[in-house]
Symmetry: C4
């Protein structure tokens, strides 16, 4: 018997089912990413302090600014990828809905490891613990992202016009995420500083369009060229 | 005389009325669910603390992690159900709009009982009080959810193509929620630990597709099979 | 010469202009309303406290619960009205966009007077000040709501199929808001308790469908009956 | 070879690609703007305080109210402009998605410089530092806004029916933003008070419809007149 999916039957139904899930997912991403700014606090200096004191207090917070920038970019990049894959869906089923909740759980918690890292990164004793927790959170997020989209592919939730070979290639490229963060966690156990450099460098690769960028607008586009 | 509903007349009007209500509702769900992460705080240890101190401080917060996971999943499951039922609506009326506000009130307050439970669950004297409040909040949410959708069904807000017998069956299955949480509250009065186990186990049932999963894409689908 | 509006020309353009403004507006409403829950804090009791101490601490916070319920309902009711009027728009212009920002400013600040009132309502000396500030904030919101929709009507932004006489009647009914809150502020100067009762009772009128409920789905419906 | 863009091919695909990016962007704007209200705190006075004490404490917070109003209006105005330009897009590419993330980063951080300025504006020693940081944040936002839309124009992401000469004129008018805030930062180094007056006055210009207001509904409208 043929499988039946939410939004399988016509475009309007797809709109209702996939687009509302996408909208809810976007909401959690948008809130999670914006809450990162709450970690950047106004430094408290006494009212008789000099200009230099406030400048120094602001400068001392540099880990907060770096954490904000790096983590914001990572969540932003996940959103781009999540939204690209969503465009390929022809419908969703119960399993997909449940897996997506676990992926959102991994997104919404990110402000916590981000704040932990910013708080303890300057403490040579404690930065290792914070780096491990940050890496584990990023690993969980990358893993859930892979679980969601590998499952979607295996449950045949992708549009028929999307090229399975191309999707397989893109899904393979997503495996870099959990592998990289798992490695960074292991490294953090021995050398926190090296792991921090890895955390900061990993998003840079995303700036350049990889195979992922070729999945667009609901089907696989080959030979994409930016104008 | 025929009743008139918001969005009764054509698809475009339904889009405007039901979809905007759905979008606002999704927004409150998305924010409420993401604010749960604010409860997971960065532990404060003195700067001379050892690695082990920070690990211990992080480990001591385990109730926060468990509360986040369980409550996030519960709100996520409510969102899935709410969005399934929304797809069945052919329009809304004033009563529905007002009842939906009370349901959102019950969603948006959840971070409070969640934080209360995480705070006092390790205290043998106080965990009972926190468990009762958590259960009452979940009961109120489950009750409002039932009130909203029972009313929608009775006010004939459902699409004509949706099978009333199937909807009745699904609505009946939703009664499990308020009954389960009311029972858990009573149990919490005598044995907080048992009620906590119930709170943690209840969402697990949701992982498996029940009759609810069969309501999809704006009408009742029978014989759904995941691929 | 004929006026030109955003989204004047066809349904697709209306979708882009009015619906995106509506979505942004919904977002601010949804966040403002959900942030109200942050005011309901977990009470801090010492770890040796008894059950009764925590129950008492929770009970002492009753003004927070009442403020949450009343204010949540008020913002929810404003959202319903805002969304009803949005459905009547055929397009927007620069003036409307700017006025809408000021209305959103009045919505987003509401958690502040709400928290102020909850904090000082039990203090006989200070509750008067808090009641005046709360009333002024509600007055500003009600006023901006009227300014936005009176302007929209006068700038002829409403759909041609919407009956001007009916819209005028509905707009007139909205004047109750600023008048009621302005009166409550004056009363709060003499008798804070009476003004608090007024604040709590005002939303109850909204539970019953008035002339406002008749504006639905993008045009004026006459003779609406709930099923 | 012809360039290929997300959402290039038909209206449905444009809906999926551009509208979902717009929705995510709107979400970050809506949350960033609403979080500004968290800076307006309930003043703490002792329970034996008089009416006058609470009034004075509330009055002493005037920088918070002014900062909220000015910054809210600035973000609101950026949203209006961002949404106007989004309507002109025929599709997006990887570079656009990445640049948009950096623009969102600049939006989401605004509550920080806003709170910093409100905190230190009354301190003659420290207000200069806060004014410089606020100006730098606004400069970064204005700069990113220009980078995003200049890039979109150069990468030919605009709809063919949009008049390039008109777009160029509008883009030129956007250059006022970074120039004005860069100047205000330089001025803040010498005279903080003058820079604060500039910050407060800059948004006022936005109240009047400039060339920007003429870009509407997905193409360039010439000869727009409000009714």
């Amino acid at each position: 018997m043929a499988e039946k999916l939410v939004g399988n039957d016509d475009n309007a139904a797809r709109h209702v089912a996939v687009d509302r899930l996408a909208a809810f997912t976007d909401g959690v991403f948008a809130i999670g990413i914006t809450l990162l700014s709450l970690e950047v606090a106004v430094p408290v200096v006494e009212s008789a302090a000099s200009k230099g004191d406030l400048v120094a207090a602001l400068a001392d917070q540099w880990p907060s600014y770096v954490a904000y920038t790096v983590t914001f970019f990572i969540i932003g990049a996940y959103w781009i990828n999540h939204h690209r894959m969503f465009n390929l869906l022809r419908g969703v089923n119960h399993t997909f809905l449940v897996l997506n909740i676990f992926a959102l759980m991994a997104i919404a918690i990110i402000p916590f490891p981000n704040a932990l890292l910013a708080e303890y990164v300057l403490n040579p004793n404690l930065r290792g613990v914070a780096a491990v927790v940050y890496g584990l959170a990023m690993f969980a997020l990358a893993l859930m992202f892979n679980v969601v989209w590998q499952s979607a592919f295996r449950m045949r939730l992708m549009k028929p016009e999307a090229d399975p070979l191309e999707i397989r290639k893109v899904l393979k490229s997503y495996l870099i995420g959990p592998i990289a963060y798992a490695s960074a966690v292991v490294i953090a156990l021995f050398s926190p500083m090296v792991s921090l450099v890895i955390y900061a460098l990993l998003p840079i690769g995303y700036l350049f369009e990889g195979p992922v960028g070729r999945i667009e607008a609901g089907y696989v586009v080959t030979g994409v060229e930016d104008g």
